[in-house]
């Protein structure tokens, strides 16, 4: 880096370039950013992604619709059900499958629980980013573990569930599903209170997050941010409300928004969303009735007529879209995954420039990126 005269000083200074990642404790996977710092102030950020690119969109073109479900788990590996949901709904819309009510309610319950799980992952990791030595992490993971146990009982897997199918669900949930979910909710409520006590009401935490990394609503929209990042700026864009899918139009819930769009509000938005998710799950449990979980007649090999669809759902991190182009046959002609983190991460530079080095880590953590989703 060439020596240049600092505008504020008479002597020559040099910008220091700090390379963070791809192996760094706070980059949440294999993300790399080069910080150009002047003392402790960040002058520029250059993000580099792609370390986890697995060519998933190309792979999905080689798989039939049923195989593709498993691939969705591997892109968004913290909100697998939400990712699967976008995909199976896209296929259902193209293949004109009617999903039974019970399957829709169970999908909603699982998606909302997965949202809670993902947000707990966020609070834990974010606590570590802010500097809590592991305590937020363990308390978050206690609740995450409880939810994950439930998912394991249902699907047989802890991470890669592959449980949704075009048309419904792979198999019926266990008999004790409803009491188990209530048990989980009870534990989760305590977990959120713990998080509030440990982080939200913590003065040092507030000192580190309030006013940091703020972005305006117009900028966030322009960068294509979605999810809590956009809602914290005050834009009430929640696809569950604006374009209701499944049965969200029959359910009473609030869209949590903030005002300033700083890191603290991104955090509190997610905490608020966890409470809303609990509300949604409780209402779903009351509406859940016995019934079929798959349509009466399903083709042995699923084929779709030619056509295209952009199916979007509200994943924990924002809009998770599947652009599916079919030319007939049993596999997609083109499958584009519109990842929420990918767009949110674009705004990182705007948020970070001018903040401190320590804040760069906090801002990156507040975006809650999942590299599997960014790189696909």
């Amino acid at each position: 880096m060439a020596t240049q005269v600092h505008p504020d000083h008479e002597f020559d200074v040099q910008d220091l370039m700090i390379n963070m990642g791809p192996q760094h404790p706070s980059t949440h996977g294999v993300f790399r950013m080069v910080l150009v710092v002047d003392g402790e102030i960040v002058r520029d950020v250059v993000p580099y992604i792609g370390y986890m690119h697995r060519g998933g969109e190309k792979l999905a073109e080689t798989m039939d619709y049923r195989q593709g479900i498993g691939w969705m788990d591997r892109t968004e590996y913290l909100a697998q059900f939400n990712a699967e949901l976008s995909y199976v709904m896209a296929v259902e819309a193209l293949a004109e499958l009617q999903v039974p009510d019970r399957a829709q309610w169970i999908r909603m319950i699982l998606c909302e629980l997965n949202r809670i799980l993902s947000h707990f992952m966020f609070t834990g990791a974010f606590g570590t980013d802010v500097g809590v030595f592991g305590t937020a992490f363990t308390y978050s993971f206690r609740e995450r573990e409880v939810i994950q146990d439930l998912f394991e009982e249902i699907t047989g897997d802890r991470m890669m569930y592959a449980y949704f199918r075009p048309g419904g669900l792979a198999w019926e949930v266990p008999d004790n599903f409803v009491p188990r979910v209530r048990e989980v909710l009870k534990s989760v409520r305590q977990g959120i209170k713990d998080m509030n006590g440990l982080l939200t009401d913590n003065e040092v935490f507030r000192a580190r997050t309030v006013g940091v990394g703020a972005i305006s609503a117009a900028d966030a929209t322009d960068w294509g941010c979605t999810g809590p990042v956009l809602r914290s700026t005050g834009v009430p864009l929640d696809l569950r409300r604006t374009e209701p899918y499944l049965k969200y139009d029959e359910i009473d819930f609030d869209v949590i928004t903030g005002t300033t769009g700083d890191v603290f509000e991104r955090f509190t938005c997610r905490i608020g969303e966890m409470w809303e998710s609990i509300r949604i799950v409780e209402q779903c449990l009351e509406r859940l009735e016995p019934g079929p979980i798959m349509p009466d007649r399903m083709p042995r090999m699923l084929r779709t007529p030619p056509g295209e669809i952009y199916m979007r759902t509200e994943a924990p991190r924002g809009e998770y879209g599947i652009y599916l182009v079919s030319k007939g046959g049993n596999r997609p002609h083109r499958l584009k995954i519109r990842s929420s983190c990918f767009a949110n991460l674009q705004a990182l530079r705007d948020m970070t420039i001018g903040s401190y080095v320590a804040d760069a880590v906090v801002i990156l953590g507040s975006l809650d990126i999942v590299l599997g989703e960014v790189d696909r």
Binding site: I49, G50, H53, E57, K58, L59, T62, M63, D64, R66, Q67, M89, A90, E92, A93, L94, E96, L97, Q98, V99, R165, G167, G168, L169, A170, W171, T221, D222, W223, G224, V235, L237, E243, P244, Y245, D249, I293, M294, R297, M298, P299, R300, G307, E308, I309, Y310, M311, R312, E319, G321, Y323, V325, N330, R334, K336, R338, A343, Q346, D375, R376
Partner: protein, 191 residues
């Protein structure tokens, strides 16, 4: 707006596909795109608007700044490789204020994969275009930062998401396994 109904019930949307364009936002879009040669076709969820590639940025800008539409949010930008028929660049737009959805497409012939960049319209197009450029070989003219995004820096001569890009051996084998659907697992589909 029919798009909301389609979004609620994916399975009901088959009816929307055959429905005509009236009742959609196409008249509004047509009005906003005055001076741009645009054609429309219905789709399962959203209306698809075809804009010639020379006028694409003008059209997108008109869509963004029109007071009744305000497509201020670029959901997604991608390419579809139709092999010898050329490539389609697909823009998915959303209007936060009005809740409208729109799909805009531009067709590129095989021998001339150039298109004006949409980054002056939405900054969000930046990374999407970089990705589309490295994956499909589409050159976005006027892009402020035409580096690779997901691929290695020196991998600028192959375009992995094109249909003619060869698959690895394991991927070919995986495709062959499709000939035996009973072995592919998953019990739920059985009647």
């Amino acid at each position: 707006m029919t798009t909301d109904d389609g979004a609620q019930q994916g399975s009901e949307s088959g009816a929307a596909a055959s429905a005509a364009l009236d009742g959609t936002i196409w008249p509004e879009v047509d009005r906003a795109l005055a001076g741009v040669t645009a054609t429309a076709e219905p789709s399962v969820l959203d209306v698809i608007v075809w804009i010639p590639r020379d006028e694409i940025v003008r059209g997108l800008r008109a869509l963004k700044h029109d007071a009744n539409l305000k497509f201020d949010y670029l959901r997604s930008l991608t390419c579809v490789d139709n092999e010898e028929e050329g490539m389609d660049v697909v823009y998915h737009l959303y209007s936060i204020e009005h809740g409208y959805n729109l799909t805009v497409k531009a067709h590129l012939p095989v021998d001339d994969l150039n298109l004006d960049s949409a980054t002056p319209v939405w900054r969000a197009a930046n990374w999407y275009e970089r990705e589309a450029a490295e994956m499909f070989g589409v050159r976005f003219r006027g892009h402020p930062d035409p580096r690779t995004l997901l691929m290695p820096e020196d991998m600028t001569d192959t375009f992995p998401l094109r249909k003619d890009h060869p698959l690895a051996e394991i991927e070919v084998l995986q495709g062959e396994a499709l000939a035996f659907p009973s072995g592919a697992g998953g019990g739920g589909e059985e009647e």
